[in-house]
Symmetry: C2
Subunit: 201 residues, 2 copies
Amino acid sequence: MGETRRRRRDVVANRARIIEAAESVLREQGLDADMRTIAQAAGVGIGTLYRHFPTREDLVHEITGVDLARLAEQPLPPDLPAADALRHFFTTALGNLAGRRAMVDLLAGAKPGDADLKRCVEHLTGVGRAALARSEDDRTLAADVTASDIAYQFLALARVVQLAPEADIGHHVDLVLRGMERGRGGRHSADVADVRRRAGG
Amino acid sequence: MGETRRRRRDVVANRARIIEAAESVLREQGLDADMRTIAQAAGVGIGTLYRHFPTREDLVHEITGVDLARLAEQPLPPDLPAADALRHFFTTALGNLAGRRAMVDLLAGAKPGDADLKRCVEHLTGVGRAALARSEDDRTLAADVTASDIAYQFLALARVVQLAPEADIGHHVDLVLRGMERGRGGRHSADVADVRRRAGG
DNA sequence: CACAATACGGAACGCACGTTCCGTATTGGT
DNA sequence: ACCAATACGGAACGTGCGTTCCGTATTGTG
């Protein structure tokens, strides 16, 4: 196993430009953007794109993988009751989705078998377990909530992000969290004026 | 105006068979089933299919339209508090979705611009309005819930139907409804044994 | 600078689908 | 039974998109 040449400069440059272009195009056009569009945005031939990422899936992984990791690596904020920490996580994570069409497509639109989706569910279930563990102490979450409940409710909210006006998202998070909180204290973070503002739909 | 021949028998027969086949294929394969597959299932040439339904959309409308109508025409059960009526509606409507891949695809997967999806949102918002009207009297729904909240939460649950194990659906409906109910009475319809049964996620 | 190794661009290919077209078969009316 | 009206089947067409291929350009090395 012998000598090896240094990697050509244009190769690394092109790879970077492709990734950058893919990030932006996928963010704006969603998960099923045309490969040719991405190549063009990168100022690169379609052949070059495919040498770097032999298949569409490879490229999509490269991009969404980063966002996905960010989703899970930054877990529950400490020093907060389980319910509030979970609310914070939901709000932040869903807020980061604004404008990221590819991620929204992935979370809200991926078909049941999809490998990326499974990764998401795993990550989210992990977050759910963490929240439940914390609730062992402070008991702020209802007794019948499971870790996978939390994962699926998050994905359900991702669908809401995809469909509902952005201004309503926080309210929907509230609704869902209210459902998972322990029966008591009716902490309604939206007041009546807020409701008025959000029109009568 | 002039004379008109009687419609040929094979025409009406074929139309019926196409609809029947489309129902079954769409139910099993989802919204993006191949037209050729449907034609074959109907024992009919692809040309015949297209004479009856000039475009894929026409055929899909014919099929999902019925299910959609059923979704909205059978509204809130009377003689029940708003919250319970809504729970009943959610449970029934989502239960009817089991195995109907086309409808699940439509509700859980349709892209934001989709015309069918808009029809759904309208129908569901109507149901939401009805529930809120009833809540004017019994006050079983939280004050900050709007009609469109109800619509989107329903669609969010449709996504859950698509992803989560069927056994968990009822539980998710409970969670969501708990969030929309007026603060008080912690009516948790799932008991601890139930939670155990649904595994730890 | 010369030369081999390596990349590049983008035309071309393959495939899956929706849709159209037309020669042939079936049907209703007489 | 005969004929015109009407449908039928399915080959063929158009399009869009992922992917492959190869002649040409660029780059690292000596």
